[in-house]
Symmetry: C2
Subunit: 439 residues, 2 copies
């Protein structure tokens, strides 16, 4: 095997053999192939793409670069859920209790926020006592006991992906669909998932800005799933405006609990029911989407989903009293309303809102940044709503007056208003179901 | 400035600004930009190309990365000559005395052979005493005294090119025309040339295998010359079969001397007169190609060119008696004839002949390989010639019987024969003259 030949073959548009892909990733992973050759190959892949078969091999090679988690001891078909990253995305906090209420077990690893995209671990850590760092055994024990466990990485999963992703980040080779797809899928497969629902965000506040790109990414991940015997369903959802009304860690936990109490904003409820429906369709035998959705709505209505949430939080060491007492969560000393220009809200730039929230301290510019769990933004309207001129469009929760004022100024251009009524954008744009789901 | 942004802009097809190119090369050259980012940029350039303006800037940035040589003290317009690399290419040994006989001064740096391509320095070093390692002062002194000086690199010229070329070699990014063109031109410009003739080889024994590729490379180098005020003429010549009949260092020196004595093979004479004509057209004011060519032929006929050769060799410490006594040159103990299948010689694979010659010890697989100056191959026919079956097609000059036998076996498929007459291929395929030459 010769790294240069492999780079040249990909550069010239050839399809790499499974052996070439396995060898390159293995040698790169152990440091025998230098970063500059991996960078050249990544750029060649950016231009020449990869076939479905190559993408499956790449995913498998990355899975084999480190430890893998076996979720078979849980005795159930484990359905994972992955979001490609969005703004105000507290979906995991709502759908995990929802599907647990219908008998599924959720045992998943989540990540932290970076850049405009928030992270589930950061949100959960705003709950006093919640422990994200469990051992593999502890993780399985919590999942068995509470039907839900959401933790950080428990073992050295896919080190090759970690190394390659860091390299792509500094070589202009992040936006390659086969590389994105294999990166996501390798982590999910190494994490032990038997099936998964991919929540692919589309729009200004997402990595995929067009529906076509998002659909192609979804199709590639479904193809990888087929190649590796994992059922995959993709839910393509709008991320032009933030999801729900709260952006910021403890503010999002409150919104998730409110949603589980049946008081969530309609778009968020709609989105969570759609994702949860697909998870149940993959995790159980039979059932129509309509029937599953009705069951989920009933679990929400009856409070069973909320109970599952409280049990989960307690099982991971968190103070479950937060469900009834939001004052137990971190809060900000300063609240500042941003008055609306008024009219029908036509656009609310998710990316701009996200970056202001990061500046407030809710997220990270670089990995090492500390987080302020209390700060963030609460919206009082969504696209399509009418707002009286001067009424608050949103409330800024900040650590100081100066920060609140800076945030307020930075948000001035984020909203677009029209005098005439605006159609509410659809929440779920498209669902690409795994062929195994006869729905 | 941000290396990732520059990579991304090139990746997306943008034209880089002069400032971006200068900054990237400067930072790469001093180690502030790592190899992996340069590799990613090189691969992006491979796919997206570079505009003429970008190529000029890249060339200039590389020139500025190190020392430059000033040939103004020679008081003449110095015309350099560069070959893109071929098999049996002893052109410099013949054209330098030819143009010196017409009053030009040749002051040039040459390289060593690597892979299938031979190097002028290796050929010259087969002459006892010839010194290729002069100081910059010594170089100028010899050029003034003997009108010819051909040496190795005298100073740290274009270190950025050295670094980038080594990286391209291991990242599959060698065959990018703007990168090849700027690499060649930066070395020639840093070496002080005021004008240059590029001998662009085309065919199986060359880096450019098609006329279209060779023409595009030539045009790019002419454009760089225009951007940097250097007149550039390109001679595109055939390299499907070796140039001349000798391949191997001392064997090529003998053939060059024979050519200067008026006994050279017709194709080699034709090629050298064409290159020398273009050098004189660039180096002197006025004159038509026909008139210059007649002058050069006269200098060859009269022995004046041969005298210039002897004076040059002596000025660089070499034993000029080799001109009359080839026994002073290194020779091989074993000579083995390869009999011809017979008929009209239709093809003689230059690359195959070259690789066998390297295996004999005349060239290098890797930079560190030692060289045997005496070994090589002498052809007894060129494409188009009729050879009686069983008569020798070529003679192998080897260090041992075993090597000679191995070479003989390796050469079995290198010739193709036909029963009917074959057209002799043209030596010079095309000349692209600098617009300043009114010929």
């Amino acid at each position: 095997m010769d790294a240069v030949k492999i780079i040249e073959r990909k550069r010239d548009g050839a399809t790499l053999d499974p052996g070439e892909i396995q060898w390159f990733i293995k040698q790169y992973s152990r440091g025998a192939i230098p970063d500059y050759q991996a960078a050249a190959l990544a750029m060649a892949i950016y231009f020449q793409g990869m076939s479905p078969e190559e993408t499956v091999e790449l995913t498998l090679a990355m899975v084999h670069s480190g430890d893998t988690l076996d979720l078979a001891p849980l005795g159930k078909r484990i359905v994972d859920k992955h979001s490609t990253g969005g703004v105000g995305d507290k979906t995991t906090l709502v759908v995990s209790p929802l599907v647990a209420a219908l008998g599924l077990t959720v045992a998943k690893m989540s990540g932290r926020g970076l850049g405009f995209s928030g992270g589930t671990l950061d949100k959960l850590e705003s709950i006093p006592g919640y422990r994200t760092g469990l051992t593999a055994d502890g993780f399985l024990r919590v999942a068995r006991q509470a039907s839900i466990a959401v933790v950080g990485q428990t073992a050295e999963l896919v080190p090759a992906d970690g190394k390659l992703y860091a390299l792509r980040d500094v070589t202009g080779t992040v936006p390659s669909l086969p590389l994105i797809a294999s990166s996501i899928m390798s982590k999910k497969i190494a994490g032990g998932a038997h099936a998964m629902v991919l929540d692919v965000k589309v729009g200004r506040g997402a990595f995929m800005e067009t529906l076509d790109q998002a659909r192609e990414l979804a199709q590639r991940m479904i193809a990888i799933g087929q190649g590796l015997d994992r059922a995959v369903t993709a839910v393509l959802s709008d991320m032009n405006q933030p999801l729900g009304r709260a952006i910021g860690n403890s503010l999002e936990v409150i919104e998730a609990i409110e949603t589980l109490k049946g008081r969530g904003p309609q778009e968020l409820v709609e989105h969570c029911l759609a994702v949860a429906t697909e998870m149940v369709l993959l995790g159980r035998e039979g059932g129509t989407p309509q029937a599953v959705r009705a069951e989920l709505a009933a679990a929400l209505e009856s409070g069973r989903a909320l109970e599952c949430f409280a049990r989960w939080i307690a099982a991971q060491g968190g103070d479950a009293r937060v469900v009834d007492d939001y004052a137990l969560l971190p809060a900000s000393p300063v609240q500042l309303d941003l008055p609306a220009q008024g009219g029908y809200l036509a656009e609310l730039d998710a990316r701009a809102v996200a970056m202001v929230t990061v500046d407030l301290g809710a997220g990270r510019h670089v990995k090492e940044d500390p987080i302020d769990h209390g700060v963030g933004i609460v919206l009082h309207a969504a696209v399509g709503d009418y707002v009286t001129p001067g009424a608050p469009l949103l409330t800024i929760h900040a650590a100081s007056d100066a920060q609140a004022t800076a945030a307020s100024r930075a948000l001035e251009g984020a909203a677009r208003w029209t005098p005439s009524a605006v159609r509410r954008p659809p929440v779920v744009l498209e669902i690409l179901r795994d062929p195994s789901v006869n729905a």
